[in-house]
Symmetry: C2
Subunit: 359 residues, 2 copies
Amino acid sequence: MNGKIISVKELDALVFGIFRQIGCPATDARKVTDVLIAAELRGIPSHGVARVMDYVGMYRAKRINVRPKPGIVHEMPSTATIDGDNGFGMIPGVMAMKLAIKKAKTHGSGWVSVFNSNHYGIAGYYAMMAAEKNMIGISATNANPLVAPTFSVSRLLGTNPLAVAIPAGKYPHFVADFATTPIARGKLALMEKKGEKAPGGFIQDEHGMPSNDPSVLKRGGAILPLGSDYEHGSHKGYCLGALADIFSSVLGGANFGPFVPPQIPYLPLPEHQPGKGLGHFFGAFRIDAFRPADEFTAAMEEWIETFRKAKPAKGQKKVLIPGDPERENTEKNLRSGITVLSATWDALSEIGNELKIKH
Amino acid sequence: MNGKIISVKELDALVFGIFRQIGCPATDARKVTDVLIAAELRGIPSHGVARVMDYVGMYRAKRINVRPKPGIVHEMPSTATIDGDNGFGMIPGVMAMKLAIKKAKTHGSGWVSVFNSNHYGIAGYYAMMAAEKNMIGISATNANPLVAPTFSVSRLLGTNPLAVAIPAGKYPHFVADFATTPIARGKLALMEKKGEKAPGGFIQDEHGMPSNDPSVLKRGGAILPLGSDYEHGSHKGYCLGALADIFSSVLGGANFGPFVPPQIPYLPLPEHQPGKGLGHFFGAFRIDAFRPADEFTAAMEEWIETFRKAKPAKGQKKVLIPGDPERENTEKNLRSGITVLSATWDALSEIGNELKIKH
């Protein structure tokens, strides 16, 4: 694919400018930009600046509130729920994770549910906010329904990611951040563009039969849960996706499963909405909530060392610690700039021109 | 396989008698028996009475304390750690879940880590303890290392299960309880006994190459993480298994990964033990920690109804809600008795005779 290398500074300025121009207050535009740029740095372009076009489209379709006032609507000592006021997901998202961290400081753990929200970018961003404060961070979200439960053809779940970041003392944080499916929708779209077949175990057709056609989602097909088929534990992937959905919606009041509002402006909203908007879930633990901090840190450092020393399989170089690839991407991209697909850059640049932003 | 149908009452009495005879106080013998019988009822015989022989063997090898005094060693308002005093895992396990529930009552959520413990049976038992109190229950444990991380041949993780039970109002609880691997070790052992080949995607040989030989674990092979291979997301299964391990060990002080003491009496203990015993993790949420209870319940009921109505795939009868198969097994087994493998019954009966228990 054709790409253009853009410096982090230039890309950040353009994205920030766009969100300012559509009416976001500076602090909000900064949050949205930071999360999108973090995805680019970490090498997850499906959740990066390519989303700006959809975000602006959502604003133009009057589906997003660019000046939200999110607030706490329910609370117990270690828990709370925030109404996202239909803003970009990053606004209540960052607020919710800060609140979880604050509650964890006093109570050992803190848990915050968000409803009436929208796409919040990479789940790992929020989990890492806690790790930066030397806490364990957890986040999950629900998303557009594209995944069918085991034995079904109905698209009832999103690719619902789960992220957990764990501070590891003198080593970089352990950061797990993954969709509860074998493949992300973005990768299927790329295969379709390139005219490639999808390997088995990713998708099914409208009858629930295995398919290799990446365009099958357009004709009633579905993405499979992690595990791919029942024999290999797809019911476990279904459980995981369902848990991310329930914790992000039923808990606090967002829409669940098939009723999650699409985060793409031209897709119609579901007629029935049992909740409000899309939902997220956030958690934080003090590392000394269960034992003295120095003991936790020493054990986590030894855990990392043990797994780093694992013997590689034949033909493999090394065993990875969750978060390694994204950290290596970040270091590389900070040095050399971010490669943005030409089509994405052109679209972004066009929006920039429309909004009269120098770039 | 040859089986013998035993009434729940008879099986319960024999197992309870065995644990009394080896020295467990009545309340402790009751807890161990309840969890093992629950596994039989739910149709998970790998975690049922077949474990009694290993448990008794652990006692005879002086690896288990049959009169443990577990106690809280560290605490914050919403968190705590319990030293299991090297008892059967059910003793600190039940104590820990009760404590998590108690903390959740006051603080919205409660989280308890257990170290210096042993095999605790099915993770779902503990999660369901919370659901019975109309709370969300969570549990995980680590286990004997048999699973290799993606790209590795080293067996660093157990099949580390995760269980979450969610009350669903007028419907049975949602109960997800699953190993973070495509297959359980017990099923591989069964294939080996029957002389069957294992399907692809379950195991690898000592070089990390795909294998169909279920006996490969005896020659340095390993079980694969959920997802089976990198292309289908086995790194996500590796993350899940690692998270269950870290939450069960690094958090509270148990041994992690390859250092988890084997729960089989004839396997040697690891020379290096960075922690104490095996570990578990427990959590509970009030359903009204995030919104009023009636709203939570109405939303969860609609979630269940929506997923029950999912259209089955071609050739499938219906979509399952997590917990359905185990509940159906329980109803059947309560009616008709429990089918115990002849070999298991003979071994159990022999221990009963040795300990002079009428059965």
